[in-house]
């Protein structure tokens, strides 16, 4: 008799948000509506990029859809102006 594994119903339960001790993330642009969002300021955009320069999805950062769209546009503009990289790995 091996009951080392927990029954599936319990494991589903433990995977729920109640047991993960996860705090609800708040969109920082909504929290402080005066927080600047500008494509000319790479400092603001860098927290929303991975180390390789990819955009971080909003389920990770906790941004609202409205502001994620603004960030997305700003990142794309900043990339054109060589303020932030398209990628850090360059093809030979």
């Amino acid at each position: 008799m091996s009951y080392s594994r927990t029954p599936s119903t319990t494991s589903e339960f433990s995977a729920g948000p109640q047991n993960r001790k996860q705090r609800k993330k708040v969109c920082r642009f909504c929290a402080d509506y005066k927080f600047p969002l500008d494509y000319k300021e790479p400092k603001i955009l860098i927290p929303f990029l991975t180390e390789r320069g990819k955009m971080i999805p909003r389920r990770v950062t906790g941004n609202c859809a409205f502001h994620q769209r603004r960030i997305q546009e700003a990142i794309k503009r900043a990339r054109i102006l060589a303020l932030i990289p398209f990628t850090t790995i360059h093809q030979p």
């Binding site: 509506y33 000319k40 790479p42 603004r70 060589a82 932030i84 990289p85």
Partner: protein, 113 residues
């Protein structure tokens, strides 16, 4: 005539002399005014390190121009920037109309009262 606001950022080669830079900026403002546009400001954003090489340069001298005018101005300005050897990159956008967020402001005030 409808006059819309535009914002252009262009990058000049870093090895230009002050004179060469000034000449370029004068040309831009002259061009905008010739096509019945109004310059609001030309801002020097300084020399910055580029995130990736552009036109074999690793640094660039950034400038920001805000102006109003008909769409024809943008067309002519971009044509000039494209042909100029000193300009390595440029981008024209309509400034963000959502920059001031009055909707959020009013809803916050209502709650606090």
């Amino acid at each position: 005539m409808s006059e819309k606001p535009y914002e252009t950022v262009y990058i000049l080669r870093p090895d230009l002399t002050d004179e060469g830079t000034k000449k370029n900026n004068d040309k831009v403002s002259e061009l905008v005014q010739r096509h019945s546009g109004q310059i609001e400001q030309i801002k020097d954003l300084g020399k910055k390190l580029l995130a990736y090489p552009v036109a074999k340069q690793t640094k660039g001298h950034y400038f920001q121009v805000n102006f109003r005018g008909p769409g024809k101005v943008v067309e002519e300005l971009e044509r000039h920037l494209k042909l100029s050897e000193d300009v390595i990159r440029f981008l024209t956008v309509r400034p963000d109309v959502h920059e001031i967020r009055p909707l959020f402001e009013t809803s916050f005030q209502e709650v606090s009262e």
